[in-house]
Symmetry: C2
Subunit: 288 residues, 2 copies
């Protein structure tokens, strides 16, 4: 589309066809008279339209990570909408991890590499809203991790195992220096590395999202009570040995047993398991 080439895909005249207030006298003329359902009115709003168009360009491959959208003022004019409503759309896309907005000359709206942490937020919101329960989350985590162990045994590469080994070293260090909260952070990383070693980013994303929440509970528990899982590094070593030996059955058994003991630790004091404690504030490294 663009004329003028410049180092980083300046994405000029994207010739966005105007949106222009089709005042809601629409009703969307049912088309095929198959289903007598009249639910989805909700009067199409312009910012939704804008988001959708941009996502469409994304799906079509016209927009790719690294590309820059036209400046707000210009794009607003191209679309025939006010700058304010365009910004609402851009904001939403930014929150969705699709865009990154950067100030200054040479700034603009840049398409991002997908941010896998977004799924964590979904989980957190679902938990906050009571759509899912902590119990469901823990249960799902156990099952998914069981799957992860199998996949990791099948697919983990040397580099993955080395990273896990290095993580265990850090855990040992944190333990010996009594840095309990850092040790929790190590655990979080351990599961992240384990998930990554499946070689499947979808699985990894899923594991991360359920683990992130879980670790908040652990963090809160450790921070408030000062208790800590005994023989953690030792158990990790055993597990890694089984994993390295591609012994899925043993590795799975070890991990399950560990998860159960963590669960018991958490459930000792049900009060500390409250959502609020875990979700309310934001620990360093726990968030973008």
């Amino acid at each position: 589309m663009s004329t003028k080439s410049s180092p980083r895909a300046p994405q000029r005249s994207r010739t966005a066809s105007p949106i222009r207030r089709e005042r809601a006298t629409d009703l969307r003329a049912a088309g095929s008279a198959a289903a007598p359902t009249f639910k989805p009115i909700h009067t199409r709003r312009t910012f939704e339209e804008i988001c959708e168009r941009i996502r469409e360009q994304l799906a079509l491959g016209v927009l790719k990570p690294g590309d820059k959208l036209p400046a707000e003022r210009e794009l607003a004019q191209q679309l025939g909408v006010s700058r304010n409503v365009l910004r609402e759309a851009l904001r939403s896309l930014e929150m969705a991890g699709v865009l990154r907005l950067q100030k200054g000359v040479k700034g603009g709206a840049f398409i991002q590499q997908g941010d896998t942490r977004r799924m964590n937020e979904v989980m957190r919101d679902m938990l906050s809203l009571g759509t899912i329960s902590v119990r469901e989350l823990s249960e799902a985590r156990v099952h998914v991790l069981d799957l992860v162990v199998q996949l990791a045994c099948a697919n983990a590469r040397r580099a993955d195992l080395d990273a896990l080994e290095a993580n265990i070293e850090r855990t040992v260090l944190a333990t010996s220096e009594g840095r309990l909260l850092d040790r929790v952070e190590c655990s979080r990383e351990f599961y992240k590395l384990l998930a990554a070693s499946t070689g499947n980013k979808v699985i990894a994303m899923i594991v991360d999202s359920v683990t992130e929440i879980h670790m908040r509970f652990v963090y809160a528990k450790v921070a408030s009570s000062g208790v800590a899982m005994a023989r953690l590094a030792e158990k990790r070593r055993q597990f890694l040995t089984a994993l390295s030996a591609r012994n899925a059955e043993l590795a799975g058994r070890l991990l399950r047993s560990h998860l159960e003991s963590v669960q018991r630790m958490l459930e000792q004091d049900p009060g500390a398991m409250s959502l609020h404690v875990a979700l309310a504030d934001v620990q360093p490294g726990m968030r973008r």
Copy 2:
């Protein structure tokens, strides 16, 4: 600030403490001098602050589904921000499925029951942005469904099995009447019901998110080529029988084999597997 109570948690004077432009002369005074990392500047913007505060109230349980936020004009004043920037925040939260905005007197921003379809959007975005691949998604789906079968065998209730049975009936009908695309829709529903029968909404959400994308490919394939999976209802029946008999091993085997044959069908014509075809437009029922 008005008193006056009305039926549905009018959520008056929430006494939101003002935000009020702390002009970015912040630098966030490192606190513990542990990590010499200086990455996360990105100048805290007001809409982020607002989103965070509302999510905080949610996590704290102060705000619950069904509650209504103060009117835009009022809330903006309470927070000490302009109405526009407040709207940017509300928009983002609405896109995130946390809020629903409703016009008219007695309208407002209502906290929603969590919308599990949000995870679908995350998957779609990740795919659009090239963060995950179709291959990873398919692979993850196979593994997750394997897990689902086990859980469904263990936990499915009578009502779940009946719902699956009814779904198969619809499939039979659609098949006999040659409504191929409706049959795809039935498949989508089948997996949704199967996922629900695990009794775990987290698992269900995950399965839905990977299945939704997958079904777009199937839909596109069927729509373009007119081919259709042979003996579909029959295979479903066999599977359901195994499930009802709580025979996880058999059910798993049947499903795996079916998934493989679907995969073969899709891969016959690699061109049709392009992302664009599947993600670009929005089929009825596929989206909110």
